[in-house]
Symmetry: C2
Subunit: 186 residues, 2 copies
């Protein structure tokens, strides 16, 4: 399916993310107030692009993780566990921005695959502690080449990826507080 990023009118952009240049933004950023129509167009661009990028990542990970028997979200959970060793479901959810509705079945599948253990915390019987099995720890070595392969596949130099991450995190923070502010007014 592979839609080349060249179907919409506003596409002939000089690939210059690290220094200014004549881009779509300039046309949209003149002195006059931004017209709704321009905003609609930029909105389209952003949400299309973000969606497509997110799923493109998922596609590459899916290929890379197939050998490991992991899905992309399962891999994210394993990354968190590899880093922290053992965490309650709640903490995993905070790291990944996921709730128990998503994590409970996912963790059950990881447990069925023999990669993690789930047990009620003795101190707090409400909480479930997720820990790695030996197989789960060993999987980390087999996953060793995944990050390098993926970062290479992005085609971007490391500094651009870092810049991308900064932009994404800022947007996420702003959107989260916006939605909280909206939800809080009653």
């Amino acid at each position: 399916m592979a839609t080349p990023p060249g179907t919409a009118p506003l596409d002939a952009v000089p690939l210059a993310a690290a220094h200014p240049g004549p881009t779509d933004a300039d046309r949209l950023h003149g002195e006059q107030p931004l017209r709704d129509e321009d905003l609609l167009r930029l909105d389209q661009q952003i949400c299309f692009s973000l969606n497509a990028a997110s799923r493109a990542f998922g596609g590459v990970y899916r290929v890379l993780l197939k050998d490991l028997g992991l899905t992309y979200p399962q891999y994210l959970v394993m990354l968190v566990l590899w880093e922290h060793g053992e965490l309650p479901v709640k903490r995993i959810g905070e790291h990944l921005r996921l709730d128990s509705g998503t994590l409970s079945p996912l963790l059950k599948r990881l447990e069925a695959a023999g990669l993690v253990r789930r047990e009620r915390s003795p101190e707090d019987e409400r909480s479930v502690t997720v820990s790695l099995t030996d197989a789960g720890r060993e999987l980390r070595d087999r996953a060793g080449q995944v990050p390098r392969t993926l970062l290479t596949a992005t085609g971007l130099p490391v500094e651009d990826l870092a810049a991308l991450r900064v932009l994404l995190d800022r947007v996420t923070g702003a959107l989260d507080s916006a939605v909280l502010a909206d939800g809080a007014e009653d």
Copy 2:
């Protein structure tokens, strides 16, 4: 700033996306080859951030679109139709990077909501043409403030959003060709 080397999390980044400066990337981009451990960390950062951003967008859109009775993917389809008026399923999929497995049930729901019509093309009976109903066209006016609200909620100036889009599109293009190249070798 001078992030001391070692295991410190790559978090305290000067928010400088539009011009170069000393960032995490520099530490990762020195003369020595990048260590697998650094790559693992950056890989985590990127995929966490992209995932979180994608879902944060979805969350805000969900709130904004609730009144219109649309989900976020349905809104994307409507955006395409508002722009092009009438398209076969295949073309919609190319615009949005989606296949019939996703679009068929989604379009069926839009049809049930009275927003679109689906009819077999007379020239090619395999193809299904999707067109807007009057209600579908009228919805565009009610959606008028969505883009402005959303772009404001991102907290980023328009030129940063445009830069973000460029980075995302480059990544998507590279990832797609990487996955195609990988899938083609056999």
